[in-house]
């Protein structure tokens, strides 16, 4: 990742450097989506929940820190109302 490059300069070079495009936060790029972020909107929240019901970490989903905080709060509220699962048992 780009921001690490200075730290790695002193160390021996690796064959190929992994460059990955920084994923964009879906909420900052789309204000409509940010406005719709709510515990009453399970359809949207499901997008940020793994199949097992866990909240997807932001290193994977690319969500901004501040939005991840808001998102996790809304997911937790939705869980209380049984709109999204705490866990799902897989067979």
């Amino acid at each position: 990742m780009a921001f690490r490059s200075s730290k790695n300069q002193g160390k021996k070079k690796r064959g190929t450097k992994r460059f990955r495009r920084r994923k964009l936060c879906p909420f900052t790029t789309d204000p409509d989506l940010a406005a719709a972020l709510d515990y009453k909107h399970p359809k949207l929240l499901r997008r940020f929940i793994s199949e097992r019901g866990r909240i997807i970490p932001r290193r994977i989903s690319g969500v901004n820190t501040s939005y991840q905080r808001k998102l996790s709060r809304q997911i937790k509220r939705a869980r209380i109302l049984a709109l999204v699962p705490f866990t799902t048992v897989k067979y």
Partner: protein, 182 residues
């Protein structure tokens, strides 16, 4: 006097009929009436499948109420809900803080709809709504329509983007050993 805008969602037993659901609704209404709270709107989300079963019930009837009240009113409402055995679950959330009751746009908020709402909400506070029918109220109502559209657009986007998240998961696994080595 400054108040807060609250919303309470409750899940009631799925085997209750309309009249019994209405009775629960009225019990909340009387509690709010006693506390001089302003009921902004009621919503019915219908019978929904629960993400996990509550008290062995796989489904539940969802009711939703938004109201303008002071902080102690919520405790009172929740107390009545706790006592009632037909109420499986409830959640109260404060939506707006420091609301001036006089300048609050009841009409605009009453016209809003949650994404899960399936029916027209019955207006309980007609006399309050009539008194605030002025120009600012109308302008906010237009904003809300726009917002409803945007919500719809957002859900569409949510459906199409699911594949992207799944892709990210495998990528993360590949990245793991590199982070450990550095």
């Amino acid at each position: 006097m400054t108040m807060r805008l609250y919303e309470t969602t409750l899940i009631i037993r799925p085997d209750l009929d309309e009249a019994e659901a209405l009775a629960i609704r009225e019990s909340v209404d009387t509690e709010l009436g006693k506390a001089k709270a302003t009921v902004v709107r009621w919503e019915s989300w219908g019978k929904r499948k629960l993400a996990y079963s509550i008290n062995k019930y796989p489904k539940g009837i969802y009711l939703y109420v938004m109201y303008l009240a002071s902080a102690d009113v919520v405790a009172e409402v929740e107390r009545t809900l706790r006592i009632n055995e037909d109420v499986l679950r409830y959640l109260s959330v404060s939506v707006l803080d420091n609301v001036e009751e006089a300048s609050f746009d009841v009409d605009g908020w009453a016209a809003k709809r949650s994404p899960l709402a399936e029916q027209e909400s019955d207006r309980v506070t007609d006399e309050v709504a009539d008194s605030t029918d002025e120009a600012p109220a109308r302008s906010t109502r237009k904003d809300e329509e726009d917002e409803n559209d945007s919500v719809k657009a957002a859900t569409d986007a949510a459906e199409t983007d699911e594949a992207v998240v799944a892709e990210g998961e495998t990528e993360e696994e590949a990245a793991q050993p590199v982070e450990g080595g550095s």
